[in-house]
Every structure is written in C-alpha cells, then in structure tokens.
Amino acid sequence: MNPLNRLDLYKEMVRIRQYESRILQEYHADKKPAWDIGAGLIPGEMHLSAGQEPAAVGVCAHLRKGDAITAPHRPHHFALAHGVDMNAMTAEIYGRDTGLCHGKGGHMHLFDPENHFSCSGIIAQGYPVACGQALAFKRKGTDHVAVAVAGEGAANQGAFHESLNLAALWKLPVIFVIEDNDWAISVPRSHSTANASNADRAAGYGMPGVRIENNDVEAVFEAAGAAIDRARAGEGPSLLEIHTLRLFGHFEGDAQAYRGADLDTVHDRDPIPRYAGVLKELGELSDEQIASIAAEATTEVDAAITFATSSPSPTADDALLHVFA
C-alpha cells in the first residue's frame, strides 16, 4: 500500500473538479438559445464526474505504470487520476485530431494504450475487458492489476456476474469498483437491484466485498490499498462498492426532476470542501494553499482547453483511418 499523502489526494481532487467545472461551462456555452446537444465545440453527450473524485483519487493513488483501468461513460476523473494526458484527453473531447483517438471517439471513448486506460458507454463492458487484462498480467508473471469501474446499475448486467465468477475462479488480479452514486440515470438502486448493497454480491463469488460510505477519500484509499495489495500478492479479486455523489445530472442537459429533495442538499455533501476542512483541522492545509492549488489547477485546465480549441479537426480524408485495428 502506498503511504498516505493527504495533500496529494486533495490536489488531485481539486484538479479533477476544476476540469469538470470548466468542461461544464465550455459544453453549455454554445448550445443556446435552444438546447441542441449536437451544437457547439463539444458535440454529443457529456457525463461529468464532479462529486465522485474521492473514488478515482483514492483508488488511483495505489496504481502504477502498467496497471490498467476500464471505465464507463463517466470517465474523466479516473482518466486524469490514472495519468492520462489532459491535453490529449481534452482534444479528444473536442473531437480534434490531436486527441487520444484523433477526435473520432469523443468523451466516452478515451483510449490511452500507454496508460492502459479505456472507457466506453456500453454499460458493464469494462468488466470482461479488465478480466482479460488481469489474465494477461497473471500469465506474464507481473504484479500489475486491472481495475474495472462502473456504476451501481451496471452491476445488474450479465457481464458483471460473468466477470466476477471468472475472476474468482482463476484468481485474477482485478479490483471491481462500483461507484454507487444512488442513480442509474434516473433509477434509484432500490428500483433496479434485489440486493441493498452490491458489496453483498461479492459473497456469492467467494471474494471479499467492502462498502465504503461517506464518499471519504481516505476510506477509499485504505480499502483500495488493501484490495490492490491483495491482487498484487496473487490472492485474487476484490469488490469495492464506493458510495459516492453525483453533483451534476446524469448527462449535461438533464433537468434531474426525478431527484426531488435530494437535489436540495447535494452541494452540502460536496466531498472536496469537506476534505479541505479536515486537512485544515490537521494543520496540513492553509487558506493560502487552497488558493494556490486552485490556481494551479485552473492554469493547467486553461492550457488544455486552449490546446484543444486550437487543434485541427480530423479531415474527410481521415474518415477511413483507424477504423480497423
């Protein structure tokens, strides 16, 4: 388990939040007056991860080069926390040729082979892929691990169950991370899932399952460290169910009428100011540092946006490139 560095955890969460907040602004800026999801510099859907930073930062703090992550349609926090280049990622979101996939994938299809990061909007697709990655690590004799991230709704897909079964059977070094943000789009877990907690499902496959409450980055850090250590030591898979918080809508443009009173308190539960308060109480963070960390993140994000918006778009001649592997 890597040693805990609270300031690093805080900085990374702020960096991700600054990114998501800026993408939110940029995404909406040119879709008015009538909402047109296809209009503007960032066309298509957008699923932002603000509020879910503790999950990504707590898990990725233990990963190293060569470890793999598969992520779902809400991938930005895990991508950034795992070291995906912000410029290339932003260019991809903007559909530019300098993007990770030369602008042809967009925000839900960020593929970074160098960092073994991939994501897709097909629900639960990452689980079997992570099992394949973990099998490769095991057969190569390395101690790398694969992390499969998805939401609580994805745990009702067949691919989830097939993956847990195979991972347990073959003792694969994979960590299944469920980000339970209470809403599968607009469906609460109680309406879709027979189990009150997806951590319980791990029992059926003979692997440890832990539910982490309070969206607490240090609680995630501790549990993820233990799960990743277990996997590196050859002890097999684990399941981490992280109760987290979706600050924004499922997608941008989501009016969230279904959320009711939950929306009234959502910003009171923001994990970043809460953690700043904890660090200040510990004497590990000052108001000056809060300001300078925010400024540093803003500078980096501004540079990424500038890189993306000044990059060329793919041309018609490129349309048939990269279609087949």
């Binding site: 791990a202 832990v210 539910r211 609680a219 799960a227 109480e281």
Partner: protein, 339 residues
C-alpha cells in the same frame, strides 16, 4: 401464553461490510442474512405470545424486505410488525431515534442485530429496557452467539413478563470517554490509536494502537479485548475492567486474534485493573479515540482524554439463562411434563 407485549428490533444495515473483509478474514453478513435472522427471531417472539414488534426503518434494505415479507404467508408466524416513522440519515443517529421511539412505545425488550458499536448506540438510548443481541458485526465481543430463534424466545419471555427480568439480565459495564465537549460510551473498549483521521473507521493494526481500556476481557473473544483476555481475564460480572498501555520497555507480550483470522503480537509496557467509577487519563499526547473498535474522534496535545468505567450500562438478557429457567419452569411445555 398471553398475547401481549411489544419488542423492538434494531438491525444495522452497515454491519459486516467494512474493510476487515479485506485486511482480515471478516465474514460476510449480507442484508439477506440479516433479514433471515430477523424472520427466525420473529417466529421465536410469536411462539411465546408476543403480540407485536416495532422495527427501526433503514435504507439498507432490511426494513423494506421485512415490510415486503410481512404481506406474505411467512408472516403468519410473526407478531404484528410495525416500523418506526423516522427520517433516515444513514448514520448511528437513526438507531438512536429508533430506540427512543421504541422506549416511548413501551417495548418490553429490544433485539439488536449488529456488532459492538451498534449495541453501544442502543445502550445509550434504551434506558432500562433489556436488550438481547444477535451478532452480525466483525469482532462481536459484546453480543454472545445465539440462534436468532432462541433469542426471539428469550426476549419474548422477558418482554411479556413470563420471567422476572432481574433474574435473567445483568447490567453491562460501560466505558465513558470524554475530551472537552466530546463524549462517547463503549460497551467493550476505548482505544487510543496513532491514526490521524477516521477514514475507513476500523482498528485492525496493532502497530497503530497505543492504549486500550476494557470493560471485560474474555480470552475466547477476538478483537482488541483479546489482548486483555490473555493478560488478565476479566468477566462481565467482575467489578472492574482493565487498562493496557502498549509499547516498550515490555512487561508482557502476547499473540492474540486482533480480528477474524488476524493474529498480532502485542507488547505491553503497563497494565492493571480499572476500578468501577475510576477515571483514567490517556497518556498518549495526540491521536485518535476509537470506541468499540471504530475510530471516533481526533485529539490534539491541548486535549485531555479521560476514560471512566461504570456499571450503569444496558440490561443485557442472558439468553442461555432465560432458556434454562424456561425449561425448568416448563414455559415452553404444551402439556405437563412427566417427572
């Protein structure tokens, strides 16, 4: 048996799911397991004539499952089941609110499904209402193991007054820890650790432990109290507890089960009896106070942490004792028994 009596039910939806499934070999206790235990317990309650049960409400699936089952044929073997009308915060405060409601409703006993921490929260709120515990936590030092059906019978007999509660309950000892305005109560242990934050909550690593104060120390238990159990056994009925200060120079060293499947070497620099109503002050200058194995709050060098052992804890039902008395008096006999 008269058709009377109300029994309260507290079931912690979070117990048995924490990091000790990863860092130790903590067993799973799923929501379905807890619901199953409650159905068995309810059958036990009804069998001795308890007319109704009042359950806390939770968002962890327990009360929802019970409410659903209560509409079906299985519930014919149950007392009438009602639920506390409460706002859910998904924190220990939910248990406190529920127990207050149960006490106000005049329950004759409360059955608690949880670990040491859940029982401690119930103990703070239940006053003189006897409690019977079914273990669903990780270390489970306070709740004794018992089949839920039998716990239901025992709690039911106490609730309907078939037995004098004074004959079959004993006052648990408690530890009260105070630091400034902060105050918490423990049924098993108060521990001073080197942690700087609550994080995942559990205490499982002996290298982080500095001092332990114990209500009792039984050698057949796991968890922090096992350290004391192999230094000097202290029974639940003994008029004292134990304090332990870890470190060097070592006066004693033990190897004990600090968690399920987790053995640890523990070196002690000092230990001794903690008398009832005696207050001790933690000597560790700063760190974390943990209550019944869960990190609770931080303290700094400017803070004083005082720990007091008292004998005014909850009245814990001796399930085995109840059943022996019930057998001796033929309370479950349907006919006169031959001599």
């Amino acid at each position: 048996m008269p058709d009377v009596g109300v029994v309260g039910i507290v079931a912690n939806p979070s117990s048995g799911r924490d990091i000790r499934r990863l860092v130790a070999n903590g067993a799973f206790v799923t929501t379905n397991d807890k619901v199953n235990m409650i159905t068995r317990m309810l059958a036990g309650l009804r069998s001795v004539g308890v007319s109704s049960a009042l359950s806390m409400t939770d968002l962890g699936g327990i009360s929802a499952s019970l409410a659903d089952l209560a509409k079906g044929p299985a519930s014919k073997a149950w007392p009438a089941l009602d639920f506390v009308d409460q706002d859910i915060t998904q924190s220990p405060a939910d248990t406190t609110v529920a127990v207050h409601a149960m006490v106000a409703a005049g329950v004759g006993a409360i059955v608690v499904l949880g670990g040491d921490g859940t029982n401690a929260v119930v103990a703070e709120a239940c006053g003189n209402v006897p409690i019977a515990s079914i273990s669903t936590g990780t270390n489970n030092a306070f709740p004794r193991s018992a089949e839920p059906t039998v716990v239901g019978i025992a709690a039911g007999l106490v609730a309907i007054g078939a037995l004098d509660a004074r004959d079959v309950t004993c006052r648990a000892k408690t530890l009260t820890v105070r630091s400034g305005e902060r105050r918490r109560r423990a049924l098993v242990d108060v521990t001073i650790t080197a942690h700087a934050s609550i994080a995942s909550g559990a205490v499982w690593d002996s290298s982080t432990v500095r001092e332990v104060f114990l209500c009792f120390a039984e050698p057949h238990r796991i968890g922090l109290s096992s350290i004391g159990g192999h230094i000097r056994t202290v029974r639940r009925g003994d008029p004292f507890g134990l304090y332990l200060r870890l470190g060097r120079p070592t006066v004693a060293s033990v190897r004990v089960p600090l968690g399920p499947g987790l053995m640890a070497n523990v070196d002690l620099a000092e230990f001794g009896e903690l008398a009832i109503d005696r207050t001790m002050t933690a000597v560790t200058p700063f760190g974390m106070v943990a209550v019944d194995g869960e990190r609770a709050f931080r303290f700094d060098p400017d803070d004083t942490v005082n720990v007091t052992l008292t004998a005014d804890g909850p009245r814990a039902i001796d399930v085995e004792g109840v059943m022996e008395l019930a057998s001796a008096r033929g309370l479950l006999a349907r006919t006169a028994l031959p001599p």
